[in-house]
């Protein structure tokens, strides 16, 4: 301590220690290690797990599903909206997945209100368009933070859900749909909606906010959940497999264009009637394959995988979903041994 001459190493060493410690602290902060309140993909995905823990090797949500292949028959109308090759007239290969919005891959069909479709369309220019859609006409909550709140409130039920609805009154519209919309007994009779808004850019450089939907060509026949339950816990997968084996199943893809002032950032808000709608083509599903060794198993239907001519809008969900889906993918692929690839083992659903 007495050697406090100008050449003493103490001050420089203290400077070095400060630089290193400060850098490490900034890194830890950026990584979220000092911020227990930050909504990270890890926390969001963990919140999806049922009380008994996640089903290892499976998607952390929409865990029950079945693969399909087919093609998207583009009629060329979408060229007016986006330069994506997928909208030029032609037939492009499709890989997809029918699924139920549950973290339990063994959930009985009649216990799951929301159904989904994961879709990938590939074009010869090498571009890929992935989308994960669901059947309600609007989403349950306005923000990813509110979705996290819902995941934490729903299991507590009763008072917790009342308080949740108080914080997020937009949930009422979804709850009304869930309580009143008819059920069907087939994926082929369900619509699937992007709900999130994206931006399409046309050849002239004009960018428009859009949402898209797949509307079933098959006529929906409603069924009560009780009737559906009587048909067995895995009826939907059996039905779609035999239905597609008998004849290809079709959905019309419709792109709805927002007008100025429409809520593009909030998927709980349907856009007013009368918006421009463009039928861009037909999804044809011609083969259904069990998931354990099916082609959709190891695919992440990440909504940010977009072709040229499409991009993210001010809707906060695609980013949050992309982040969370990646986390789910990283987890389930590291647990692949817990989900055997043989069809026999995979179909051992109760």
């Amino acid at each position: 301590m007495s050697r406090s001459s100008p050449r003493s190493p103490l001050v420089p060493l203290a400077v070095i220690a400060l630089v290193v410690a400060g850098s490490a602290a900034a890194f830890a902060y950026t990584a979220g290690w000092l911020s227990p309140e930050r909504l990270t993909p890890t926390r969001l995905v963990a919140a999806l797990a049922p009380p008994g823990g996640p089903a290892l090797g499976h998607r952390r949500n929409h865990a029950k599903g079945i693969c399909f292949t087919g093609e998207f028959q583009s009629n060329g109308n979408g060229v007016a909206l986006s330069t994506a090759r997928v909208f030029t007239a032609g037939a492009w290969p499709v890989l997809g997945r029918f699924n139920l919005a549950t973290p339990n891959p063994n959930a009985a069909d009649a216990t799951v209100r929301v159904r989904g479709m994961g879709l990938q369309i590939s074009t010869p220019d090498g571009d890929v368009w992935r989308s994960a859609m669901i059947d309600p006409p609007i989403f349950a909550v306005s923000t990813p933070r509110a979705f996290y709140d819902l995941l934490q409130s729903a299991p507590k039920g009763g008072e917790a859900m009342k308080a949740f609805v108080g914080r997020h009154p937009e949930f009422t519209a979804f709850a009304t749909w869930a309580g009143t919309a008819p059920w069907t007994s087939s994926y082929a009779e369900d619509p699937f909606n992007s709900l999130n808004s994206f931006l399409f850019t046309d050849a002239g450089g004009t960018t428009r906010a859009v949402r898209w939907s797949l509307r079933p060509v098959a006529t929906p026949v409603s069924i009560t959940p009780d009737e559906l339950a009587k048909r067995g816990p895995n009826y939907l997968e059996q039905e779609i497999a035999s239905r597609v084996a008998a004849a290809p199943q079709r959905w019309t893809m419709v792109v709805t264009v927002a007008e100025p002032g429409d809520e593009t950032a909030d998927p709980t808000k349907a856009w007013p009637a009368g918006r421009r709608m463009v039928e861009v083509g037909t999804l044809v599903v011609n083969k259904v394959i069990a998931e354990p060794d099916g082609p959709c198993r190891d695919l992440n239907f990440d909504p940010m995988v977009l072709p040229r001519g499409m991009s993210v809008s001010d809707d906060p969900f695609p980013a949050a979903r992309s982040s969370a889906y990646a986390r789910s993918y990283d987890l389930r692929t590291s647990e692949a041994k817990d989900y055997p690839r043989t069809a026999a083992a995979g179909s051992a659903k109760p």
């Binding site: 190493p9 420089p12 060493l13 400077v15 070095i16 630089v19 290193v20 850098s23 490490a24 900034a26 890194f27 950026t30 990584a31 979220g32 911020s35 930050r38 909504l39 990270t40 993909p41 969001l44 090498g126 571009d127 890929v128 990813p144 190891d298 695919l299 992440n300 990440d302 940010m304 995988v305 040229r308 993210v312 001010d314 906060p316 695609p318 980013a319 949050a320 992309s322 982040s323 969370a324 993918y329 990283d330 692929t333 590291s334 692949a336």
Partner: protein
Amino acid sequence: MSRPMNHTRFSGAQRLLHWTMAAGIVAMLFIGVGMLSTVAPSYVPLVATHKTLGMALFALVLVRLVLRVVLGAPPLPADLPAMMRFGAILSHWGLYGLMIVLPLLGWAMLSAADYPVVLLGHFRLPPIVPQSDSLHTLLWTAHRWLAFAFFALILLHVAAALFHALVRRDGVFEAMSPLPSGEPERPA
């Protein structure tokens, strides 16, 4: 791997590459941990920037290696203790190795997950490995832990550089300093 220079500083091109890449690599590491900690809309541009900057840095490190082989490096001070000399050599092999390996791991990791590898400007790279769950897990784990090792090694590198600059004052920091040197040549 390189012949010693008979001068005391790295060439201007080497110094420019060093400091450009230093800024880029530090940005990469912060973007990397930052993007994995968020579900906010910034996730999308952060990921796109991470992929693009990573490939740019991969191209730059190849140029840098060529320059290192062709132009060499100034010799370490003759009076540097053997342990510090050993540490300097070892850490530089580590730094170069990570600069090469991390972008390749990232690219391969995305390929193994069957994600299209699309950079800013919709510039698309081909996959370099087939989709594989086990390979993806291995590559992802390696990318993550080697990135943490890279950050730790960079902190060590910064501490050592400052130690040379502020405590030993032996000309090692000046050899890579971005500033013009006051004394042009030191006898080799």
